[in-house]
């Protein structure tokens, strides 16, 4: 159990409703497999705290197999008539925007408010817990506001949410499973192996070559891990500190800051950063799941080049 357990219960509720809807959807050719996928996922959110890690691990493999062999397809859509939607927009007008704006407003207020929740001078919630609780609270407030504005029943709202989740499909689970992979990579020492590879191929007596190796290494390793935070300690410990700081006298603060931003350029170019690149493609109903990445690649490459130039220009400012 944790401070986040009530949130997981709510997420599990939406997942359970989607499982039910899928099970009853006669128009879905794979409805048994789809209902099983969403049902197992709902169980992991509702009852995960009471399951052994081994059982959870087995269920994750089951989810991957269900999705991997085409078991999770989008169900029959029950969309409201466009004319009705336009009428409703006319009637409700800008009142429709209010709940949408309430989510970020309440989240930001909650994050700052949580800093005052202290027991013996220590914050009651960690930064991450506070953010997630504030976001969830913001969603609940926004839901109440939206229900009042539209005069719909709560179950209609959860159903509409389940419909959006159905449109995203198994990709919704990808960020979570990638985080699991990151943990396994770390346990197996993938980072050390990559850092060793990079340091073997770099001509270390050239400042520029070392800058290039660190910047490109950050971008490339972020593309593999899907996360610049995972790449940073590996590349900075393996290349940045020994070669740039140790050998060439670079200044660490600027090197780290710009190095991390090279990683962000990598984030823009990889399907491994699923929550930024793949989930939005599904959410915007794009046919090409890599369309967002393709739109970002020119920006990412130009910025990566800019980062190399900026780093080369500034990190050696105290060196001879």
């Amino acid at each position: 159990m944790s401070a986040l357990s009530p949130i997981y219960l709510l997420v599990g509720g939406v997942l359970a409703l989607l499982a039910l809807r899928t099970a009853r959807d006669a128009g879905n050719p794979r409805r048994a497999a789809g209902a099983l996928f969403w049902g197992v996922l709902a169980a992991l959110f509702v009852a995960g705290d009471f399951m052994s890690p081994l059982l959870v691990g087995v269920l994750v493999v089951v989810l991957a197999l269900l999705a991997g062999f085409g078991g999770v397809v989008r169900g029959t859509r029950v969309e409201r008539d466009p004319i009705e939607r336009a009428d409703s927009a006319q009637r409700l007008g800008n009142r429709l925007f209010l709940p949408v704006l309430l989510i970020p407003a309440a989240t930001v207020a909650g994050v700052y408010g949580a800093k005052f929740l202290q027991v013996d001078g220590k914050p009651l919630l960690s930064g991450q817990e506070a953010t997630l609780l504030a976001l969830s609270l913001g969603c609940l407030l926004a839901l109440v506001a939206a229900l009042r504005a539209t005069r719909e029943r709560p179950l209609v709202a959860i159903g509409a949410g389940a419909g959006l989740l159905d449109a995203i499909g198994w990709a919704a689970l990808l960020p979570l499973v990638l985080a699991v992979l990151g943990g396994l990579f770390a346990a197996a020492g993938v980072g050390d192996a990559v850092a060793k590879l990079v340091s073997v191929v770099v001509p270390t007596d050239s400042r520029f070559a070392c800058v290039l190796a660190y910047c490109l290494g950050m971008a490339a390793f972020t593309m593999i891990m899907g996360n610049a935070f995972a790449a940073f300690p590996v590349m900075t410990g393996g290349v940045g500190l020994p070669l740039l700081v140790g050998l060439h006298g670079a200044e660490p603060a600027s090197m780290a800051a710009i190095g991390m931003l090279c990683g962000y350029c990598g984030t823009l170019m990889t399907p491994m950063a699923a929550n930024f690149n793949i989930v939005p493609a599904a959410l915007l109903e794009l046919r090409d799941s890599h369309a967002v990445i393709k739109a970002q690649v020119p920006t990412a490459l130009m910025l990566l080049a800019a980062n190399v130039a900026i780093m080369h220009a500034v990190v050696f400012r105290h060196a001879g």
Partner: protein
Amino acid sequence: MNEWALVGVGVVVLGFALRLNALLVVVAAGLATGIAAGMDLQRILELTGGAFLKNRFLMVFVLTLPVIGLLERNGLREQAERWVLGLTRLSTGRLLLAYQALRQVAAMLGLTHLGGHPQTVRPLLVPMAEATATRGVGPLPERVRERLRAMCAGTDNVGLFFGEDVFVAFGAVLLMQSFLAQHGHAVEPLAIALWGLPTAIAAFLVHGARVARIDHRMAAEIERIRTQAARA
């Protein structure tokens, strides 16, 4: 150290290149990595299960969906279109540029939650961008519409990434500071945050320039599609 640990990286690259189901590829890569590192199956599954439970917070975005879904059912996207069309001088490029500026500046102030794909991109930015584009260049062919939507998502990402790092209390800044401290380099978080500024400015210029040209690019693309259709 164990070079076999890289097997998992190979599985991921190959799986994504072959466009296999990403969920299956990632779980298979995890199993392969564990086996290559000499772990037994039970240990791998336990590590997988433990990490899954710990990272469940990544699905909390699901709670935004009932709100967005309910409002969309009641005409949110239609209202976003109506509202933006009231701004008669707004082009798609200017709309995206304004969104990028807002997103980046808000993230610099630590307000990273003032946006996001389910919260703002799908229900607000995309319908507004499509409405201004249709007003500017006429009905959008499927390919142009896809690219415009992808650019909307990309603009949100670029604004967020290259703004948040300038905020001194952001997790990444504190991660860098504690990592450098562990390795014997005492630096101020503020120094790290400020060295994010040159790249933040470069990001605004580089992506802003691409976004500002989007009206011309869409018009050119539609023209190309028309001439192709006329020839065929």
